[in-house]
């Protein structure tokens, strides 16, 4: 049958824009019938579910989904499965046990851990750290909080004089983030030494705030590839950002879904790298971008994708024919 893949994010957000290219490239490279980027109108589970339902009605037969809710999306996926449509979760994982074929995403725990470690290094191995993260009701928030705390604990174990100052949550809305982060910087900047962000919006707002405050004492490791963040790294305003691999996620997912629809299955003994959240997890890659590699991160990221692709069939797929 023709494979018609739908790439469905949780809602409109610039992070996912690179999926579109990933899907298009996969269609070109692997001869898949189509791989379309379809966006729910709003960031809410209900909207996403309705979108998925209507996509089935429109004839899509394979899905790569960013779970609008790690638990809630499972129910939807099992219905897609009942309908005979293979589904993978990308960019974020569902909660296991889960009916998705696999989850291809950034290891948020690893990314937050590495980001915090990078920050500690940038701070010269001492000082207090603020962690900015997203909504409390987002389950990944818990993982990120844990990762940051673990990284700090590990650093302390190595004798570094670092400690956690505060978790600042609920900074997903641009205007709210602007107010909260600026209030924190203005009121208490002298009481801590570095910030690590695990949320897109907070990264953007903090990069801007640091640029305008000219506060060279504060170190900052952001997340994702917003232009403002990248520019801030180029100009040395902030120290780095943890990149994710949205293009690769869509690219690999399209490829795999096509295979799954055409007779392949996921190997029973596939070498997944389970996370606390998800058992059939595949790391889509993450990398730290600093001033040093700011100009060729796209190529480096492509290499990561190619690395996963090179061994994908062999590691994960069981194709009868």
């Amino acid at each position: 049958a023709e494979t018609r893949v739908a790439l469905v994010p949780g809602g409109p957000h610039p992070f996912f824009a690179n999926w579109e290219g990933g899907g298009v490239d996969a269609v070109k490279d692997f001869g898949v019938a189509s791989s379309d980027y379809r966006v729910p109108q709003e960031w809410k589970l209900d909207m996403q579910n309705k979108m998925l339902e209507s996509l089935v009605s429109q004839g899509y037969n394979a899905f790569a989904v960013f779970p609008g809710d790690a638990n809630g999306t499972n129910a939807m996926v099992s219905e897609l499965k009942d309908f005979g449509a293979p589904t993978v979760s990308i960019a974020g994982c569902t909660q296991s046990p889960s009916p998705v074929e696999f989850c291809l995403a950034t290891d948020v725990y690893k990314s937050a851990y590495q980001g915090t470690m990078a920050l500690i290094e940038a701070m010269g191995n001492e000082g207090k750290i603020v962690h900015e993260t997203s909504l409390l009701i987002d389950p990944n928030t818990q993982l990120r909080v844990a990762a940051v705390e673990q990284a700090i604990a590990d650093a302390q174990a190595e004798g570094k004089k670092v400690e956690l100052y505060q978790h600042l949550t609920d900074v997903d809305d641009q205007e709210k983030a602007d107010q909260k982060i600026n209030a924190l910087l203005a009121g208490k900047a002298h009481e801590f030494d570095g910030l690590v962000s695990t949320a897109w919006v907070a990264s953007v707002v903090t990069s801007k705030a640091l640029r305008s405050s000219n506060n060279e004492d504060l170190k900052f490791i952001a997340i994702d590839h917003d232009q403002i963040v990248l520019d801030a790294i180029k100009d040395g305003v902030i120290q780095g950002t943890m990149l994710q691999n949205p293009h690769g996620q869509a690219y690999i997912a399209t490829y795999a879904l096509d295979k799954l629809l055409n007779g392949c299955t996921i190997k029973a003994d596939a070498p997944f790298s389970p996370t606390p959240q998800h058992t059939t997890f595949i790391d889509s890659g993450t990398m730290l971008v600093t001033k040093d590699n700011i100009d060729n991160w796209e190529a480096e990221m492509k290499a990561v994708t190619d690395g996963i692709m090179a061994t994908f069939d062999e590691k994960f797929l069981d194709c009868a024919s």
């Binding site: 205007e175 107010q179 009121g187 801007k208 305008s212």
Partner: protein, 326 residues
Amino acid sequence: MKNDNLMKRFLAAEWSSLLILSLVMMAAMTIITPRFLNFDNQAILTRSLAPLLIVAFAQAIVIGIGQMNLAVGAIGGMVAVFFGGMMEAWGFPIPVAIAIGFACGVAAGALNGAIIAFSGINGFIVTLATLSIFKGLNLGVTKSIPFYEMPDALVWFGEARFGPFAAILIVPVICVVALAWFLKYNIYGRQILAVGGNAHAAELAGISNNRVTILAHTISGALAGVAGMLSVARLGVGQPTIGGDWLLASFAAPVIGGAILLGGHIPILGTVLGVLVIILIENLLVLYGVDPQYNEFFVGALILAAVGFNHWRSLRAEARLKEGKA
């Protein structure tokens, strides 16, 4: 004796308890972090105050005629991305972009008002529908990707400050003063309040309810548009998400300040203080480092306390008035 009178009059004013409340909160914050009173911090505070102030009045003017404008955020967001887009994609100079952006806000508001006036459909439904339309335009145009390249002058304006005041505060100050004058000393302003107070009576007095509806919504749209553009200046980015979060605060501030949802009364100082209280509550929680899990709870509790306090005072004042009459 005279002081006594002054004190009494102060206490009888509907905004007095809110003022006391904000002062108490500021004092609390100064104790928690002495740096709170820093010019730096004050500038940050006034900076986040600025767009919300305008938003609150965009809603207040419609509440004044006993209606609601659910589309304030959507208009703000739409104007914001048009404004950003004109400067980034078409390279329009700032004044031209401002003028066109303002016109967009006016047009959007006038559209709301005209539909409500001429169709007779409930304003709630109309503005809910246009909310979708304006937000849809925003999404359709931007595909949710922001406009980044804002002119330096605008970014500078968004960040500049004079002493403890953010430069952008000048915009809401002008808006609020103009609105206060308009509502008190302009015939059309009085007509808005008259229609809100008793639409039928106003109609019989020869005031066209339709015209007033259109006027109030147009002003609302214009203010929402200004708030949208101001947010672009403040954030330095033409964000499609601007306005997404305005709705509740836009109601909360005037209502905390003493506005009546049935219409007929727009508390100017009350609304300003209402915005201040909301911002202070959020700042207090950040500065106090309240465990994030408790955050939401305290926001609710503090709003309740603020309103309860204000209401208690007005009841007291009312009772005293009655007794005094006896």
